[in-house]
Symmetry: C2
Subunit: 146 residues, 2 copies
DNA sequence: TTTGATTAGTTGTATAAACAACTATATGCA
DNA sequence: TGCATATAGTTGTTTATACAACTAATCAAA
């Protein structure tokens, strides 16, 4: 019966996401050790800007699953670090378009390597087929709750 | 080749754990709607105290994958809410044993039902075998990074 | 027994998340 | 055109996390 597939004792780690927490912590540690003075949260914003320049804060909200105040403050901090710049949209004055500075652009290669390393360490003993299946399940979970 | 099983574009959701975030948010919403004035982080501490009374703060750190200051402050807040009580250990005066108050004990049944519901909603369309496999992978990830 | 190291917990500080309330601009429709 | 409504972003407040530095108690070994 679908309804009781989970027993209480098994709930916890699914809810807390201890695996993804561990991955994030490992990447954070690598960033620190490399002397890169950013948080993983900041990295996750940069990540989307490397893929597409000039996203609005609203688009960053959707991309990173954060609410608007969270993005406001992450962009604040990224601006303080001189990694991005707010540029008011010319067609809609409500909108800030966020652009990478040269310094922000320069971080892509090194940090993406560290992220690749992190995932390879996390998944080194897991066969690809299982990874795919796991990703599928996590996507379904996300869709079910959206 | 193991080393490149993950392409850059796929990194993000694994690192951010969007699925577990979604589960946690859903449970938080249920707690709020039920008028239960606690956070999921507080709930995650109570969860371990329901399983075993009188854990030390250090044991709570291990159980919940948090550092000591985090547990200090979670216990502070749970004490303010009158849900737990610090009791100095008689055999080792460094240690605080954390006990549930009556009010804290009373929350178990209702909140565990909400947690069960949450997971059932998250996993309703996922066959049990895949859930098992996914749990396995996440456990391996955790162990790889420990 | 004394002292040096370890363990348990606390405090300070910076960053981040969630929620509510707010401002400013844009849009849509009567 | 004008007003209600929606959208983009900011600010305030509370809670939580990570890290470093700290206090107090315990332990271990000379």
């Amino acid at each position: 019966m679908q309804n009781n597939q989970f027993k209480k004792g098994e709930l916890y780690s699914f809810i807390t996401g201890k695996a993804s927490t561990a991955i994030a912590r490992r990447l954070q540690k690598k960033l620190n050790q490399a002397g890169l003075n950013i948080t993983i949260e900041q990295w996750s914003v940069l990540y989307h800007l490397w893929k597409k320049h000039g996203l609005s804060q609203q688009e960053l909200c959707l991309a990173t699953y954060r609410d608007k105040p969270s993005i406001t403050r992450l962009v604040d901090n990224l601006e303080k670090l001189n990694l991005v710049k707010r540029v008011p949209s010319e067609s809609d004055r409500r909108i800030n378009l966020i652009y990478l500075t040269k310094q922000g652009q320069k971080m892509e290669e090194e940090t993406m390597q560290l992220a690749d390393q992190t995932l390879n360490e996390a998944l080194k003993t897991v066969p690809s087929s299982k990874i795919e299946l796991c990703k599928e399940v996590l996507q379904i979970v996300y869709d079910n709750l959206k």
